[in-house]
Each structure stands twice: as C-alpha cells, then as structure tokens.
C-alpha cells in the first residue's frame, strides 16, 4: 500500500508541474480536471489527495500560490510554477523518459528473442 502511494505521489507531482507549465497559473480543481482530461479520462484522480501534494510542493518551493478570480468569477487559489519548479520539471521529465524508455526495452519483444 505505502509503496504504491509513494510512486503515485511522485508521478502526481510531475503531472502537476507539467500541467502548470502548459496551462499557466491554475486552481486546484482546474489542475485535477486537466490531469484527468490529459490522461484521456483513463486516470481517476482522488481529488482529496491533490491538495496535500500541492501543499508539499509549495513547501518545497517548486510552486507558489495566490488568491485570484476564476473564469466563472469565483474566488479561487491559483498555483503557478516557480523557477525552481521549472528546473525540477525539466529534470524529472528527463529522468522519467529515461526510466520509461528502459522499461519499454524490457517490456517490448526484442529482436534477440525472436
């Protein structure tokens, strides 16, 4: 249980960072919806876990937040990337790509096996 959650949290942070990079400043609900949409609704995100993750990222300095007004004229807290967050995103994205490509080589049937 615990291990799964950790992995999930790690990837969740990456998703949040990427979302904020493409979308610019966004509120929590918007981030959650956007992640679901980007995944083609394959991911079902428990919205409750998003907020502690956002707080953790804010404490670590990769994002920052301020109150603003939503498109529907509602008061909402907007999150945006900091410079440290941008750097973290680049690095984690690179690492993630490396990991997935390695895993892909393992999982796809290689020529040697044929």
């Amino acid at each position: 249980m615990g291990n799964k959650k950790d992995v999930w949290q790690g990837t969740l942070a990456l998703m949040v960072l990427k979302t904020l990079q493409t979308m610019g400043p966004l509120h929590g609900y918007g981030i959650a919806r956007r992640i679901e949409q980007t995944s083609g609704d394959l991911l079902s995100l428990n919205y409750g876990t998003l907020y502690p993750a956002l707080l953790k990222m804010e404490q670590e300095g990769s994002i920052t937040s301020e109150w603003g007004t939503s498109e529907n004229n509602r008061k909402a807290k907007f999150y945006r990337l900091t410079r440290a967050g941008r750097k973290q995103l680049e690095q984690e994205a690179r690492e993630w790509e490396a990991t997935t490509s390695i895993l892909a080589r393992f999982l796809s049937p290689g020529e040697e096996q044929a």
Partner: protein
C-alpha cells in the same frame, strides 16, 4: 535543501494553524462549488451534484486531515502536547514532583560534580602537544619505590640516550622577593635547559632557555608564569630583558609563559630559572643526591619499555665510571623506570578517585530506583486515567510516549537543578581536596561536564520512565476502569518491593564503605605520631642569602646564617605565652621529605643507611616533646669545632645494633662519606620514633644533628613554637619577633601542628567525607523508599486490615504484621547488600588502614544502623495501620 525548507515551513506551520485551516476551508469550498457547477452543467440534479463532488474529493474531513498533517509536524505536535500535559501533571502533584526532582537533582548533581573532578585528572589528556610521549623517569633500587634522579644520572643519560627527543630535570626553588610590603617567597622551579621543550610549550613573550643559560655559574635568567607577570609586574609588555631582584641577586627576565600553560608537575610554580648544576660533579655537592625529578619526551616510535631498557644499560655504565660518586649515595641504582607522565602524576590518587566514582555511581543508581518507585506508586494511582485514555483510543505506544515525556521532563528539571548543585559541589570538592591532587585548576563544571550531565539526565529520564510506563501501557483498560483508583496489581507490588530491596542493598554497600573508611581514619589518628602536636605552632622561615661558591668562605657564611636563626629564636622565646621554641630543617607530617645517608664505622659491610635527616636546634626535642630514650640530647655545646654529636631514632638503633648499645658508635654522614678529611661523629643519644611521611607508614629511621655540625646550614628552616594557650593567637607576635631580627626574611606555611597532622591524611579524609555523604544520601533514600512502599501498601490494604480488626486482631498484631512485611524487604536487601559489599569493598583496600575490608565490626554495625532506620521508616505506616477503625474502613468501600 528542499527537505530542510519544507521541514522549516512545517515547523513554522504549527504556529499559523488556524489561519491556514481557514484558508484551506475556503479553497476546498471553491473547489466544490466549481465541481458542483460542472456537475449541474452535465445534467445532474442539485443534491446529486453535491454528493458526487464530495465523493470525488474522497471525503471532506479526510482531506482536511491529510492537509493538516502535511501542514505541520504531527509527531512534534503530540510531543509538545505531551510536554504541556506532563507539566500540568507535575503541577497537580507538587509533593510528588518536588520529591522526584530533588532526588534526581541529588543523583545527577553528585555524579556531575564527581565527573567534573575526576575526568580532567584521570582521563583528559595533559595540555601538551604529543602528551602521550611525555614521560616521567625514575631511578630504582631493588625492591624500593621509584627514587628521584641524581644529577650525575641525568647528565650521563642526556649525553648517551637515543630514546628521548629531550630530557630535563627540575627541583623546587623558592626565591624571596622583597618589595614594598612583607617579604614574599615565590614558588619556583630550577630546571635544565630542555624543560619546556620536553613539555612542548614555548614562552609567549621572549625566549626559551638555551644550553648557554644552564651552565655552572651561568647568567641569572628567569622565565615568569603568566600569573606572576600579571600580578607582580602589571602585565608589562616590555619586561623581557629587565632585571628583577630575587634572593638579593639581580635576575634577567628572558621570557613569560602563555596564560594557558599549566605546569602539571608543580602547579603552583610562578617562575623558572636554569638549574646550573656542576657537571664536574663534586662528591659533596647536590649533584650526587637523589633530589631531581626527571621528565623526557620520547622519540616517535620509541616505546617506554625500550627507553627503560636503554636507561638501565646507561645507568650501569655510569655506575662503573663514577664508582666514588655513586658510592657516597649508597651505590648506583639497579634500573631506570619510565612512566607516562599522566599515569605518574595520578598514580597515588587513582584508587581513591575510582572508588569515589563507584560510590557516586551507586548514589545515582539508588536515586533512580527511588524515583522509579515514586513513579510506579503514582502509576498505580493513575491507572483509571490510563485505562480511560486507552478506552478512548490512545494506542499503547502513544501512552508510552506520554509517560516517557513525563519522566524526561522530571529528569530535565532535576538535571538543571543538579548542574547548579554540581557547581557548588565542585567548589566544595576543590576546597576539600587533598593537597596532592594533581591538576586541581583544571577542575570546573565545563562543557564536557554539561554534556555528561545532559547525557546522564536523558539516560536517567528514560531508565526511570520505562518500567512504570511499560507497566501502565500493559495494564488492561477494562479492569483498570472497574477497579477503584487506589489498588495496585500484584505485579506492580512485586516490582516495587524488588526495587526497595535493591535500594536497601545499595545503601548497605555505601554504608559499609563509609564505615570501613571511618574506622581506618579513626585507627590512623589513634596512632601516636611520636610527639605532642597540640599547642604547637609551626612556620617556615627562610634565609635567602646564597652560600658562596668557593669553599674557604663557607664556615663564615654558615656561622652568619646560624646567628640569624639563633637571634630569631631568642626573640620568639621572649614572647609571653611561648613555652619553648626551636628550628628544624624538616617538620614531621608536613610533606617535608629529606633523606640522607649514614655510614657506621663498626658496620663496614653495610654501604650506606638511608634515614631522615634533621638539623635541629637543641631545644627541638623539648619543644616537640620527643622523649629521650638513652644517652643525652643535643646541647648548645654541640657547635662548630666541637666533637660531632648525632642522635639516632630508636628504630634505627634497634635495627642496626639489636644486641648492643648504639651509644658511642662512630658515624659519617651524607656528604662527608668517602672523605677521609672529615672527622667522625659520635652517637650520643637515642630518641623516640617520629612519624615523618605519614601516620600510616612505618619508616621512622632518623638522625639528628645541630646546624653547625652538619655540612651546611639549611636556608629554609621550620620554626616550632610550643605555646601555653591557643597557638594561633601568637602568630602576629611571632612573625614580628622574627622580622625584628631581619625584616627581609619571608615567613610562609604558618600552621598549627594539629592542622598539619590532619592534612597529612587528607586523601583518606577526602574519601571518607565523600563516602559519608554518599552513605547518608543512600540511607535517606532507602528509608523513604521503604516508607513509601509500605505506606502505599497500608493504604491499599486498609479494607483487609479493617476486616482483620473487625475479626478481632489486636492493634499490636496488626502493627507486627505490617512491620514484618517491611522488615522482610529490609532483611532481604541487607543480605544482598552484604554480598555486594564483600565483593566491592576490595576497591577500597588501598584506602583502608589496619581494617580488613571484611571487618566484622563494620559490617555488623552498619547492618544494625540500616535495619534500625528501616524499622523507623516502617513504624510510621505500621502505626497508621494499627489505628485503622474497622467501622469506618468497611463502610468506605
């Protein structure tokens, strides 16, 4: 970095909790509203839209909780909560808290004080670079204790050895400095050139001694200590090169040592001058006396054994080359001994210090046991509280954490008080300490001691807390809730009784130690010193003028010096209240130590016989009340030119001439030995034995001459004055009487003989006082321990006792019942304690005197005392039990 930042923010978050929670509530609310709008737009009915939104969130409270936990430090928070709670608990029970804190403060304070004293002496490296290579070097004769080095030995060793990087010798030097006020005697050392190089310390100002300084008839140079430089010379930065007057001679200051420099060999030293011994080695000079301390810095990689081996070989060659010289001092030594300097200076005090460390450890242990017992008793009272908490959902771990927090808090308060106590304790220790305790000025409560106190406090907090906490956490909530608040389970009773037994046992061990030491000291002071110490005042008087270097002028010089002492004596005798007065070159039991050798004409086989040498004015024996056993005493007629007269001690006479009268034997002494141009002295009398080094030692061989019949007149003499009244009253009169003869002579070490005798056993006395204190604390704690347990048990058994009383048990029977219960614990404790004491008292052996470490009287005595105190402690609750009114107690439950 990232994690640290997050950690800091989370800790800070603990203080802005409310604001953040409000903000999060607003954020989550806006989140919900947005989703509800989306859901409505997707066509859901209104109530369904809200429910789905909440569901998607995964529950409102859970989300808030997860957010809260991320926002702060839950662990730290519960800890802070526990501390607050513990503080409240302690305040609610001031009696319990005060007792526990005082007991812990005593234990922690005492151990910190002892640690502060013992650690720097025994374990902290000496304050020198490469201190491990600095060694003390002694000569050794077969079967005897290490012996001071003769200059000839040093001279030969320095030339020939390959083991030492640097070698140096030193001897005490007490020059007089006459300023505007009273003449002062400074504490100095005469050292050979490489002294500071051996220690590896350079002067802060000026230069170190060089070979050219340390030559026979060399220049008069001195190096000052930082303290002397500041107190006497106002820290004058231009002092190097200036001349100061010591012993009426000009000396040039060539250096000042740094403030941090500590001369562990002679801590009081204020200045150093070169030794300037004569390498031509005249046989009647000090060069052949064993009067020098030698230190050496080993070359890297050379072991002490190797250095010792090489030294011994060199010594044997020297013995063959200087047969005459070594003969006059009783033959060459058999071997050289090399010890690490730190071991050497602490050797004498180590057993006592280690015994004291053991004693204080027991005190700490008994304090811990006592507090554990207090906590257990309180745990029993709080059982229903714990049960309630467990029932309400507190985990066992959480309960454990809370109780440990409480005990740690107690220990912390105790520890802080303990450090304050240790500060006072260390001051008392230093004041009490025997004069031969090395490195006294390194003793204070410093950061190492603080660290020690903190470590001990934490350890004590955990140790003391863990048993009661485990017991509380283990208890069954259901039975705890059902039971009334006052009864303890059988298991707790068992633990508490075991602890009381332990307390009794430890207290007995401490009592036995204190008892053995007390009996030793009593026996010691019951030993007659050989003279009557009461109503005797002593002081050292010095004539600082230097004996001329050339022999022809000696008789004239010695006569002048003797005249000064003679006239001073006259002046002192005229003071009303003075019964008798005399001068002596050394004083018994004062730390003075001068041996010399005798050669008897009728004992040609014996090479030289070592004995204490006293150079005394004729009135000495009457003043000290040393009895004449045979022959006659010294008189005014035994002066220069008259036939030499010598007195020997009874023991020396019996040892050398068991079957004949020693009177009339002819003898040559010390520097005269081996010289045919010196005449023989005759033994004219035998006097009673006197304890010189210590009351405990059997070494009373001694001989006495008048000053003018010895090879020189000593420049430092002790004046002894027998008074009719309180001797201290006469101090000013006696001082001014001496100064009326010569106002420039320093007078030091003014003390009554009673004080000197007491101080001669300072080490045993020191250990005794500490162990008495330890034993007293132990006894008190054990008594309160047994009282606490018994009184708790009486309270718990009130109902049972009531039933017994109702069924006809007499008050006396109930009293006996409770007393028996308590005394059984005390009895078991005593038996275990006796075994422990038998095993541990061996550590005290070196401190004991004429008392076996298994002395039955001591064991019986302290056992009786402990049982008596235990009986009193049991009596109080027992009486309460006997007074129980059955009607009231039976109705109460």
């Amino acid at each position: 970095m990232k994690m640290l930042r997050a950690l800091a923010l989370r800790v800070a978050g603990m203080f802005s909790k409310d604001r953040r929670e409000q903000e999060f509530a607003a954020e989550i609310e806006s989140h919900l509203q947005m989703q509800i709008e989306d859901n409505l737009r997707a066509g859901m009915p209104a109530d369904e839209a809200r429910r789905a939104a909440l569901l998607k969130l995964g529950g409102m409270e859970q989300t808030k909780q997860a957010y809260r936990e991320r926002g702060t430090m839950p662990l730290l928070e519960s800890l802070l909560h526990d501390v607050r709670y513990a503080r409240r608990q302690c305040r609610k029970n001031p009696g319990f808290t005060l007792t526990a804190v005082i007991v812990l403060a005593l234990g922690i304070g005492a151990s910190t004080a002892i640690f502060s004293a013992v650690y720097p002496i025994l374990f902290r490296p000496l304050p020198y670079a490469g201190a491990d290579r600095i060694t003390m070097v002694w000569e050794s004769r077969r079967g005897e204790r290490p012996m001071a080095v003769a200059f000839a030995t040093f001279y030969g060793m320095r030339q020939r050895n390959r083991s030492f990087e640097a070698l140096a010798v030193m001897s005490p030097w007490q020059p007089a400095m006459i300023g505007s006020g009273e003449p002062a005697r400074l504490e100095g050392q005469q050292v050979s050139a490489e002294f500071f190089r051996v220690l590896g310390v350079l002067p802060a100002l000026g230069r170190d001694f060089q070979a050219s300084d340390d030559q026979f008839h060399g220049p008069n140079n001195v190096i000052l200590s930082d303290r002397l430089w500041r107190t006497r010379f106002g820290a004058d930065a231009t002092i190097v090169g200036r001349k100061i007057t010591l012993n009426n001679n000009p000396y040039t200051v060539i250096g000042v040592m740094p403030a941090s420099f500590e001369d562990v060999l002679a801590p009081a030293t204020e200045l150093w001058s070169p030794l300037q011994s004569n390498p031509a080695l005249p046989m009647d000079g000090r060069e052949w006396g064993h009067n020098l301390q030698m230190i050496g810095r080993l070359r890297t990689g050379v072991s002490m054994q190797a250095a010792q081996g090489e030294g011994t070989v060199i010594l044997h060659t020297l013995g063959q080359e200087y047969t005459k010289g070594y003969d006059s001092s009783g033959g060459a030594s058999q071997a050289m001994l090399v010890y690490r300097l730190q071991d050497d200076i602490t050797r004498d005090v180590k057993p006592a210090l280690l015994a004291i460390v053991g004693g204080v450890g027991l005190v700490l242990l008994i304090a811990c046991v006592n507090v554990i017992n207090l906590l257990l008793a309180r745990g029993a009272q709080r059982q229903s509280e714990f049960a309630m908490r467990v029932a309400l959902g507190a985990g066992r771990g959480r309960l454990l954490q809370q109780l440990l927090t409480e005990s740690l808090l107690l220990a912390l308060v105790g520890g802080i008080l303990g450090i304050a106590l240790a500060q006072a304790g260390v001051r008392a220790l230093v004041a009490l300490s025997p004069a031969d305790l090395p490195r006294l000025n390194a003793i204070h409560v410093d950061s190492t001691a603080f660290l020690f106190a903190f470590a001990i406090t934490t350890a004590v907090g955990l140790v003391v807390g863990v048993i009661p906490a485990l017991q509380a956490a283990r208890s069954d909530p259901q039975s705890g809730l059902q039971k009334s608040s006052r009864t303890a389970t059988g298991k707790q009773q068992f633990t508490r009784r075991a602890l009381v037994i332990a307390e009794m046992a430890i207290a007995l061990v401490l009592l036995v130690s204190a008892g053995l030491l007390l009996r030793s000291v009593q026996r010691l002071f019951a030993i007659p010193p050989g003279f009557t110490p009461s109503h005797l005042l002593t002081m050292q008087v010095q004539d600082y003028s230097r004996r001329p270097a050339a022999e022809p002028q000696w008789p004239e010089f010695d006569a002048a010096r003797a005249r000064f002492y003679e006239r001073a004596l006259q002046a002192v005798r005229e003071i009303p209240g003075v019964q008798d007065a005399a001068f002596t070159s050394q004083l018994p039991l004062s730390g003075d130590f001068e041996g010399n050798s005798l050669y008897f004409e009728s004992l040609p086989g014996e090479k030289a016989i070592g004995a204490y040498r006293y150079e005394v004015t004729p009135g000495y024996f009457a003043t000290m009340r040393i009895p004449l056993i045979r022959g006659r005493l010294l008189t005014e007629d035994d002066k220069a030119g008259a036939p030499g007269a010598v007195l020997i001690s009874d023991s020396l006479g019996r040892r050398l001439f068991p079957h004949q009268d020693p009177l009339g034997e002819r003898v040559k002494m010390g520097p005269d030995m081996g010289r045919t141009d010196r005449s023989w002295h005759t033994v004219v009398g035998v006097v009673g034995d006197v304890k010189q080094a210590s009351l405990a030692l059997q070494d009373p061989d001694a001989f006495y001459t008048t000053p003018m019949q010895w090879a020189w007149v000593d420049n430092v003499q002790s004046l002894v004055v027998r008074t009719s009244g309180d001797p201290t009253q006469l101090i000013p009169a006696i001082r001014s009487a001496v100064w009326s003869v010569d106002k420039d002579q320093p007078i030091v070490r003014v003390a009554t003989m009673d004080t000197l005798v007491a101080e001669s056993e300072a080490q045993r006395h020191f250990a005794l006082v500490l162990f008495e204190a330890f034993a007293l604390v132990g006894l008190l704690l054990a008594a309160t321990g047994i009282y606490g347990v018994l009184s708790g048990s009486v309270t718990e058994r009130t109902r049972e006792i009531g039933v017994r009383a109702a069924l006809g048990a007499s008050p006396a029977a109930i009293l006996a019942l409770v007393l028996r219960q308590g005394m059984k614990l005390a009895g078991i404790g005593v038996v275990i304690g006796l075994a422990g004491a038998l095993a541990s008292s061996r550590a005290l052996t070196t401190l004991l005197f004429r008392v076996s470490e298994r002395d039955p009287v001591t064991y019986a005595g302290v056992t009786g005392a402990l049982l008596a105190v235990a009986a009193i402690a049991c009596w109080i609750p027992a009486r309460r039990a006997a007074q129980v009114d059955p009607a009231i107690t039976l109705r109460a439950e």
